[in-house]
Symmetry: C2
Subunit: 209 residues, 2 copies
């Protein structure tokens, strides 16, 4: 239907963002990448070895040069002057590069990892945030993700807090605020299939312009 489309999905835990991403990828017959796969791709890319090596033994400024030579995105003013770049930041840089390469290579669906921010300027990308009503998320977390009922609320809260902390640190905006995304949808209202349909409709409208 579309020449090239990259759909980034950020999501609340339990909102079915992953399922929605997988269905989108299936229906558009394009690859699907989530956090685990991006991590794997980073490990397999060979980039990380060299970057990690240089990071392991050199101060930030040197790593900065290595990072720049890989054309990774800027992290703004997050780093203290001098000193080592924290491991999380190294991983973010590597994953950013992998995400940019995946988006360069062709159409795909990417879930998580600040992909909306990393690909903010990509003209073929559509940036979506999925959320849902608490009771619907809790039900899904217990019934589909196998989290014990007594733990579900806590796991949900902590996972979302981790995601928002990660996003708020690396991206410019605040996780879950409408203005960071092209489109946000409450998946508990129109269901997984309805949400998939609406995202495709939006992508069609955006990319046919």
């Amino acid at each position: 239907m579309l020449n090239k489309v990259i759909i980034t999905i950020a999501r609340q835990y339990g909102s079915a963002g992953r399922e929605i991403g997988k269905k989108l990828a299936e229906q558009l017959t394009i690859p699907y990448y989530d956090e685990a796969l991006i991590k794997l791709a980073s490990q397999e890319s060979g980039i990380n070895e060299s970057l990690f090596e240089s990071a392991d033994e050199k101060p930030m400024s040197s790593l900065w040069e290595s990072a720049s030579s890989f054309n990774v995105i800027s992290l703004g003013g997050h780093f203290p002057a001098g000193g080592e770049m924290p491991m999380n930041d190294k991983l973010f840089l590597i994953q950013s590069k992998v995400i940019k390469e995946l988006a360069e290579a062709g159409s795909c669906v990417i879930v998580g990892r600040c992909a909306d921010y990393i690909l903010a300027d990509n003209p073929n990308a559509v940036h979506v945030f999925i959320h849902a009503k608490e009771e619907v998320k809790l039900k899904r977390v217990v019934e589909s993700y196998g989290i014990p009922e007594g733990k579900a609320k806590e796991v949900m809260f902590k996972t979302d807090r981790k995601r928002s902390t990660y996003y708020n640190y690396y991206a410019d905006g605040k996780w879950g605020r409408a203005e960071n995304y092209d489109l946000t949808i409450d998946s508990s209202i129109i269901g997984i299939d309805g949400t998939v349909k609406l995202i495709k409709e939006f992508a069609q409208l955006k990319l046919s312009k």
Copy 2:
């Protein structure tokens, strides 16, 4: 197309939320109400006279009884114990009642005034937030709303701050956060007509369930 549909639109200043609301109302041939019209409806309803009278001369608890008898929504714990209800709060109660009556009377589009919060439990309502890229909003504010170029950014910032302050005071969530709305759309990406189309599609998906 739909038996009954109430579409509430919250929006950033300059994002074309009003234009989108008007087009939706036209295309669905249903009434359109924005902040000014709701204010007018409140003044004309006759409700406000009695409510204002009782509010003018009585402490909060008595007004509370009057308000309850009108079946207006709760304002949570916002009021200090005892003392007069501030005029803004009276107006909010009256407008809430008018908004509920409009939604009860039939299909409509309602822009602003926390309508999403006031009608959160209305099964026929669809709650939308419209935003847009800053440069697109600035252009619209200058070219269509007639704000001088040197003032546009300030007017935009102050208007949105006013809206978010109003919302954050009266509603439960934070203005512009995805989870308060069924759907949020960046209108600068798919345009006014694209946004109208997508909202209709969403409403169809929600209300045909």
